[in-house]
């Protein structure tokens, strides 16, 4: 029993995690590809045409999973950052740093596809819908995190400062979402609302499969990125200098 416990903590060191991540990456890319095929097939060929919105609604198969992932990644990022701060674990902070750009991409994708959805429906490229507005603010939170880390030269200070931003942001996300919702209902804003059209089971499946696809993609991207971060930050250590890809 104690052997297995020691085994896991071994991977908390960048030195040991680097090769492990390298082996995991192709697996996640493969999974992402599989789910993409399944999800897109579901979304574009199996799910029926929507009674009210026609074919254009199919963009939800990208928009909704991207929204879910952007929120999920933020929480995961904040968790890793928090662990890195409280346990003084470098790798956890590196993981948070690796997740941020992917999360920001998901948020941006959600906003962009939200605009494409809104245009045929409402005639405008942007509506101040509660969810889209919250998504925009989440995007700003991601940008703030990345900008702060980029501005601080000392990597450990950047890790810890970023952790505080991520944690404060995480606490504020529900508050922001709630207040934006209140604001929206008060001003009777338009709503890109899925609940209006009855959700066929196939639509739900399509979104879930696409969500899994984005999730696998995010993990693959984050692992790739964290390997680069490890190389950069541990460049002075012997094991990095001995790596074949570094010697080349």
């Amino acid at each position: 029993m104690s052997n297995r416990l020691i085994n896991w903590f071994r991977f908390a060191s960048p030195h040991n995690f680097y090769p492990l991540a390298g082996k995991m990456i192709p697996v996640f890319w493969a999974l992402a590809a599989v789910f993409a095929v399944a999800g897109l097939w579901m979304g574009f060929f199996v799910a029926p045409t929507d009674a009210q919105q026609g074919e254009g609604y199919r963009i939800i198969f990208v928009h909704v999973p991207a929204s879910w992932l952007s929120m999920f990644i933020y929480m995961v990022m904040a968790t890793w950052a928090g662990i890195g701060l409280s346990l003084n674990a470098r790798l956890s902070s590196m993981m948070a740093q690796a997740l941020a750009p992917t999360g920001a991409l998901m948020a941006f994708l959600s906003l962009w596809t939200g605009a494409f959805w809104g245009k045929p429906m409402w005639g405008t490229w942007w509506v101040w819908d509660a969810r889209l507005t919250s998504e925009l603010i989440l995007f700003f939170l991601y940008l703030g995190f990345m900008a702060l880390q980029a501005s601080i030269d000392d990597p450990r200070r950047a890790d810890k400062a970023g952790a505080i931003v991520a944690l404060v942001g995480a606490v504020n996300v529900p508050i922001i979402y709630f207040s934006v919702k209140w604001w929206n209902t008060l001003h009777q804003g338009s709503s890109v609302n899925l609940a209006k059209s009855s959700m066929a089971v196939t639509m739900l499946w399509g979104m879930l499969l696409m969500a899994l696809c984005f999730w696998m993609y995010s993990i693959a991207m984050a692992l790739t990125r964290v390997r680069t971060i490890i190389l950069e930050r541990e460049a002075h250590t012997e094991w990095v200098k001995d790596l074949p890809e570094v010697k080349a």
């Binding site: 030269d153 000392d154 460049a235 002075h236």
Partner: protein, 200 residues
């Protein structure tokens, strides 16, 4: 009463020092020496509790300094900055510093300290108008008025003229022989008895 074991300090990706041990008892003082960039200031900041070591621990009377409530009460630290507010007078600086530490400092004691260090007539001027040397003398007054057991001073002799150097040396000497402790960095040799050298 102050002890440190296995101290390791990493700045950026440079390892400044590792596995450093030191102890300090009452009536002793440490002279930390080393070249520029060797980590003298980092070591002092670690001991003062301003930074966390990458490895190792620091204890005051057996308790880790992070938890030891009375460590801070007994600590006097001066870094490279003089910790003076330029818009306040020397007197106000002393008063506020004492108040923020939760200590009381009477007007008479503060004035006497400032006058002892050659600032007679300048106690009520904004620190801004004092010369660099005079500003450092305010630091001396603060050292004298703060009732602390352990003094950690980083390059305290900078910008002091000969007379002020004497005053500070006497201050430290009296403190150490009276049962206090001190940790100093300085490029000069210091004629204060009871010292040990820590070479980085």
């Amino acid at each position: 009463m102050l002890s440190a074991h296995g101290l390791t300090c990493v700045r950026g990706d440079r390892r400044l020092f590792s596995d450093l041990d030191l102890t300090l008892q009452a009536g002793e003082w440490l002279h930390v020496r080393g070249e520029n960039g060797a980590g003298k200031t980092s070591l002092l900041r670690l001991l003062a509790g301003l930074a966390q070591p990458a490895d190792g621990d620091i204890r005051w009377c057996g308790e880790p300094i992070d938890n030891a409530q009375d460590y801070r009460r007994n600590l006097l630290f001066f870094g490279h900055h003089g910790a003076l507010k330029e818009d306040l007078t020397a007197l106000e600086n002393l008063e506020f510093a004492a108040a923020m530490d939760g200590a009381s400092l009477t007007l008479e004691v503060a004035l006497r300290a400032l006058q002892r260090f050659g600032l007679k007539g300048r106690e009520q001027l904004p620190v801004r108008v004092l010369s660099a040397g005079q500003k450092r003398r305010v630091m001396l007054a603060r050292i004298a008025t703060r009732n602390a057991t352990l003094w950690i001073l980083d390059e305290p002799f900078t910008a002091l003229d000969v007379k002020a150097v004497d005053l500070l040396s006497t201050l430290i000497s009296d403190h150490v022989t009276g049962g206090g402790m001190a940790i100093l960095t300085s490029h000069q040799t210091m004629p204060i008895p009871g010292g040990r050298v820590v070479q980085l």
